[in-house]
Symmetry: C2
Subunit: 318 residues, 2 copies
């Protein structure tokens, strides 16, 4: 019995319809020439909150029984999941508490508060965020929205592939960034159900290849927190549910270096006019580095949350 | 008898169908909140060659009689028009000669040559590009493709508004960047024919307000070549044909400062994940500066050709 099915993703699609954006699928002749194939780029940088995360967060919160939902929701995140939960909670008429390290970038704290969430900060060197989260959840009766290891979150993320396959129905290869594995679990569920012969390729930063190692070992492997510019892909270990899906459905994991990620960000900026965060660009990085098997290819740009200053710092010297 | 009609734009749309990109129309709740209206952003940064210019160049070259077209085409431009003519010529099986100043950015020379054009450079301080162009046109029998002052070029640019009105049929206001006036002439022709009550607002850089002055004077006014970061809008005088259209159909010209353009570029990067060149961002700059009358609004982002290094130089200090 699989953790999630195509039907779960279809149900998620119905829930997010008219609320999440239907993001465009873009093409580039230069990208096609460089990678010797037709490539369809699903641009989740245009999603609400700037990343695919809104899909899963909204699907989860919309699925809570009303009496649970009204007590509020809770998430730990300093990144895109925080903003996604904050936006989804507001849209669904409930409150969000986001537990964030006190040294999180001011812009992210601002953005999360700007979406109406309460931010509870903690000292990441002396305090345990899980303990804080559990205490807050108990005190407030708030429901935890996990960033990936949850069937409703995975099903929500899978709507990305549902839309991509509607716009590019003949793809032979699907390339998806891998952090905790929620996006690829949802997308692989859709892709393998709709096109059984498709190859699903995950991409991890070279330093953060916990899912690659786990698939090789046949069991979840924990690594040190990876040092990479792809801050959204710093998971040290695959999720339990996500790994249960991905071990069945993901064909291969390839890795990219930080330098390759920067090349891809510059390519996407210069040639496709897309703003991508490092984590968002890993799929295109793998394609440009020649690491993805051939055939008509769909690739997910997972997010675009990189500020102007950070972007200039990363790429200004080129 | 108007210079161009809706029918000319429809004919252009049929010519470019399947060749030009149908660029997406994007929305942003933050932009709506900041401007207190619904805004539909037509993102021509995703057009072939990175700007709307391909529409007009292709329409012009595709309309040449075969015996004329086969002798090749010629353009003067150091910017987006050069690349557009080069791409369109190659697609239509002819040769393009582009006359560019020898101190044009190396990246632009490269890109234009990369599209298969022959670049003839000249010293802009001692040589007259028109004389060079005339001589080359005579020697080669090549046909000049003007950047804006041509009915077929204007009609091609008008397809931008045709698509925008299909995706956002209820707009009350249309905001368009103004350089030589070709884009707004084509767009205004469509907008006024399809929605007679619509207000068409042009946007110029404050230092380059030749069309604003010309409309006020009722005749074309020539100004000094403007100093502005919006290098695509440095026309010193409106075109003859474009002005004939725009004096009838444009309701108002508003201006924006370079600082306002930079604010808009940063906003578009941070909040909408769009790469825009300074000229491309003037419409959103005018909206954010509160200079556009209210009502549901369509705005054209005319292009995204700004390199990573230039972008970082302009905005890295933020």
């Amino acid at each position: 019995m699989p953790v999630i099915s195509l039907e779960d993703v279809r149900a998620a699609a119905a829930r997010i319809d008219g609320v999440a954006k239907r993001t465009p699928v873009l093409t580039s002749r230069t990208l096609d020439e460089r990678t010797r194939r037709s490539v369809y780029v699903k641009a989740e940088c245009f999603q609400r909150g700037g990343a695919f995360k809104f899909r899963g967060a909204y699907n989860k919160i919309a699925s809570l029984p009303p009496e649970v939902r009204k007590r509020g929701v809770l998430a730990y995140s300093s990144g895109n999941h925080a903003q996604a939960v904050a936006i989804a909670a507001r849209l669904l008429g409930t409150t969000a508490t986001i537990v964030m390290p006190e040294d999180a970038p001011a812009a992210k704290l601002e953005a999360t508060r700007g979406y109406g969430a309460e931010v509870v900060s903690y000292d990441r060197w002396t305090e345990d965020r899980h303990a804080i989260g559990r205490r807050l959840a108990e005190e407030r009766g708030a429901e935890l929205v996990p960033p990936y290891d949850d069937p409703l979150v995975m099903a929500g993320q899978g709507t990305t592939a549902l839309e991509l396959l509607e716009d590019a129905p003949a793809i032979d290869v699907l390339v998806v960034p891998v952090g905790g594995g929620g996006l690829i679990a949802g997308c692989a569920t859709v892709a393998k159900a709709r096109r059984p012969g498709i190859r699903v390729i995950g991409v991890e930063p070279e330093a953060g290849d916990d899912t690659r190692r786990s698939l090789a070992a046949g069991a979840r492997v924990r690594i040190d927190v990876p040092r990479t510019i792809a801050d959204g892909l710093q998971a040290a270990e695959p999720g339990e549910s996500t790994f249960a899906v991905n071990r069945e459905l993901v064909d291969e994991i390839v890795t990219v270096t930080d330098a390759e990620i920067l090349d891809a960000m510059a390519f996407l900026f210069d040639r496709m006019k897309l703003v991508t965060e490092p984590s968002g660009a890993v799929g295109v990085a793998a394609l440009l580095a020649g690491r993805v098997p051939g055939g008509e290819t769909g690739v997910v740009i997972s997010g675009g949350n990189v500020g102007v200053a950070r972007f200039a710092e990363l790429l200004g010297g080129r």
